[in-house]
């Protein structure tokens, strides 16, 4: 049989390639160029200022503060979220009636848009008539304690943790599916062999299942670190970055600089600095989990 000419293949690729080039590749390089300019949206033309935006960002305490707040969010949301995903996956890997129902129930939040979730949780967190405070006070009154009002997202001390908690609820179902699929793929023979060798369920899980699903775990972890580092919608909708900057994340800061104050160059520089941080984090994770690139 004659070998297929490459031309039609490129033809089929073209629609995607054009979109990918226009909306991803070109903006990536255009962004680097913007970050080297001072550019207020209303300026007639950008002014080239070299690396001035980068050095401004490095001397901007709010940029570092936003980076720290983002780190705090990642440290809370990623381990908690992945632990929960794994727990759900292990539970749903057991044989009992209604697994489909639970799978669906845990996964549904993932399908919601961040705006819908954020608005919903804003009500749950409301200090005055939030469901969360209602139940807490119900419990406190059973225990004979006085009423307490926690402002959740209105209090700088709790705002970021509240957002992390909500994000875990929102996202845990996604990795759950990945982990569940990986667990299902663990060969039965291996588990049976381990059982015959006298391994208890705990050992079977840690010594057999976990090493087998390690690539899936790595994937889940890396993707959630990347996603969590770019957290934006939650603080945008729920707190606007406040109170007192407590929920100011790097992407939120970038948005404020770029679309609130129209400092496009500065906002782009912030975006590229975040990219460097996330890139470094990803390399570290690859190293730590001992995955060699093949």
């Amino acid at each position: 049989m004659k070998r297929q000419q490459p031309l039609p293949a490129y033809g089929f690729l073209a629609p995607f390639a054009v979109l990918f080039l226009t909306f991803t590749v070109v903006p990536v390089f255009f962004g680097i160029w913007i970050s080297l300019n001072r550019w207020h949206v209303l300026d007639k033309a950008p002014t080239f200022i070299g690396t001035q935006n980068y050095s401004n960002a490095i001397h901007d305490d709010l940029f570092w503060f936003a980076l720290l707040r983002t780190g705090f969010f990642v440290m809370l949301a990623v381990p908690l979220g992945n632990a929960l995903s794994l727990l759900f996956a292990v539970a749903l890997n057991q044989k009992f009636r209604g697994t489909t129902f639970y799978k669906l129930a845990f996964y549904i939040p993932v399908l919601l848009s961040v705006t819908a979730v954020a608005v919903l949780w804003k009500w749950l967190y409301s200090a005055d008539w939030g469901l969360l405070n209602y139940y807490i006070n119900l419990m406190r009154s059973w225990l004979g304690l006085p009423k307490a009002t926690i402002a959740w997202i209105g209090d700088p001390k709790y705002a970021m943790s509240s957002i992390a908690m909500m994000s875990v609820w929102w996202g845990a179902g996604g990795n759950m599916l990945i982990y569940l699929a990986a667990l299902k793929a663990v060969p039965k023979e291996m588990l049976e062999a381990a059982e015959l060798d006298g391994a208890n369920p705990w050992q079977r899980f840690w010594k057999t299942s976990i090493p087998t699903i390690k690539p899936a775990l790595l994937f889940g972890l890396v993707m959630s670190v990347i996603a969590a580092s770019q957290v934006f919608g939650q603080s945008y909708v729920m707190t606007g970055g406040g109170p007192a900057y407590s929920t100011l994340t790097v992407v939120m800061y970038m948005y404020q600089q770029g679309f609130g104050q129209y400092q496009l160059g500065y906002a782009s520089a912030v975006a590229y600095l975040l990219f460097l941080v996330v890139f470094a984090l990803t390399l570290v994770q690859f190293k730590l989990l001992g995955i060699k690139r093949t």
Binding site: H40, V41, L42, D43, K44, N56, H59, D60, D61, L62, S113, V114, T115, S126, A127, D128, P146, K147, T149, A151, G154, D155, P156, K157, G233, G241, G242, P243, A244, Y245, S246, Y255, Q256, F259, G260, Q261, Y262, Q263
Partner: protein, 409 residues
């Protein structure tokens, strides 16, 4: 989601009869963010304009304030701007400096508008570099709403004016109704950290910037005195809940807060609350000098449209200003002196009370950089009033950030 602006287009022109020669009609667009009942009032006025000016057809587009400036700025930057638009007073410098606005001085002179028929502060609000780029349609100061029922219960006959009267009233109005040692009816509340905080700082002579706008005043003794006063209301006199702890405006609507400062634009949410008996008063005096935060809706014309469209746009601006009594009825304070003095305006209960402050209102600094620095001050107030940061640290940090931006630009 960011780009998904909720655009409500009202095609007002649909109601006007179309003259035969359509070539003689200049169609202009008018953008604003009046998505509440103010939008309905504005629609009425624009409809009248369309009827009285058959050669011009105005299409009004309402874009909620939350996304308004995104769309407006991009329109001005990359083409397709509206022919007339609303610009808040303190944003005029930024747009004027970048050459995005048409200078209006010759229009103002030729149509006989003069300073004598305007509230002086509002007249200045559209100027940048001594040239006019915007014409104030109204002035919306912060004011105080108070609950008549709670005032009667506490035996207070009139709203407080002086610092002393305010404290006495606030203490009388703060009550622990269920006896758990915690007040559940508050005399006062900081309903909006920015608006209320800024007003109180102005009264103490503080604020974000020094009067010459060369450096930050956030670390000045005057600003500190204002913050200390607010902290006293919260911690010592205990007449005001810490901001952020609960929704204070909702608290006023449900009768848990007796005196709540808010803008004129909130009348509507109170009118809907049928069981609430309320009245309005000027924001009381808390510091050594009279001052209160205010803003203005300025009308502006973009730089890059044809002369014919500019003329039509100015006609609309003049009409809106001349008919600002109708705008006042929609819940605003106009800035034309003859309108303010009219019997009809004086009979509007809330609007006329808010208007009493016009002589001493204080706009935010007319600085090119206000947009970049505003959040620093708010964050400091939030941190200090919530007790999450020592006031001295929060204020020093804000001052440093403001000075950094001033030095950078």
């Amino acid at each position: 989601m960011l780009t998904a602006c909720l655009v409500v287009a009202s095609l007002l022109s649909a109601c006007t009869p179309t003259p035969e020669a359509s070539g003689d009609i200049t169609e202009i667009s008018f953008w604003n963010g009046f998505s509440g009942p103010d939008g309905a009032a504005m629609e009425q006025i624009v409809r009248r304009f369309n009827k009285e000016n058959p050669d011009i057809r105005v299409r009004m587009q309402i874009i909620p304030w939350s996304t308004y400036y995104d769309k407006l700025t991009l329109g001005l930057a990359f083409g397709d701007p509206p022919d007339v638009f609303v610009l808040h007073a303190n944003r005029v410098p930024e747009y004027a400096e970048h050459g995005a606005l048409t200078q209006l001085d010759s229009y103002v002179t030729s149509s006989g508008l003069s300073e004598s028929d305007f509230v002086p502060k509002a007249w200045i609000a559209g100027l940048w570099d001594q040239k006019r780029y915007g014409l104030a349609l109204d002035c919306h100061p912060l004011g105080m709403y108070y609950n008549l029922k709670l005032f009667e219960e506490a035996g207070i006959e009139k709203p407080p004016v002086t610092q002393e009267e305010f404290l006495v009233a606030a203490k009388k109005l703060t009550k622990d109704l269920d006896g758990d040692g915690q007040p559940d009816q508050w005399g006062f509340a900081i309903t909006d950290t920015h608006l209320v905080g800024t007003s109180i700082l102005y009264q103490f002579g503080g604020g974000l910037l020094t009067p010459d706008m060369k450096q930050s005043a956030m670390d000045s003794p005057e600003t500190r005195a204002g913050v200390d006063y607010m902290l006293k209301l919260i911690n010592d006199y205990k007449v005001c809940p810490p901001p952020g702890a609960s929704d204070a405006w909702m608290g006023f609507q449900t009768g848990k807060i007796a005196m709540a400062p808010q803008g004129i634009w909130m009348i509507d949410s109170l009118e809907k609350q049928k069981d609430l008996r309320y009245a309005a008063a000027p924001f009381p005096l808390m510091g050594p000098k009279k001052a209160v935060w205010a803003g203005s809706h300025n009308l502006a014309i973009p730089a890059k449209i044809s002369a014919r469209r500019k003329d039509a746009a100015w006609k609309l601006i003049k009409f809106l200003s001349d008919n600002s009594l109708d705008w006042a009825k929609g819940g605003q304070v106009p800035v034309r002196t003859h309108v303010l003095e009219s019997k009809e305006f004086q009979s509007l209960p809330v609007q006329s009370q808010f208007a009493k402050q016009l002589a001493y209102v204080q706009y935010e600094p007319f600085s090119l950089l206000i947009n970049q620095m505003g959040t620093f001050g708010d964050a400091a107030l939030e941190g200090a009033l919530n007790g999450s940061e020592p006031p001295s640290e929060a204020l020093a940090k804000a001052a440093r950030r403001v000075n950094q931006v001033l030095a950078r630009e």
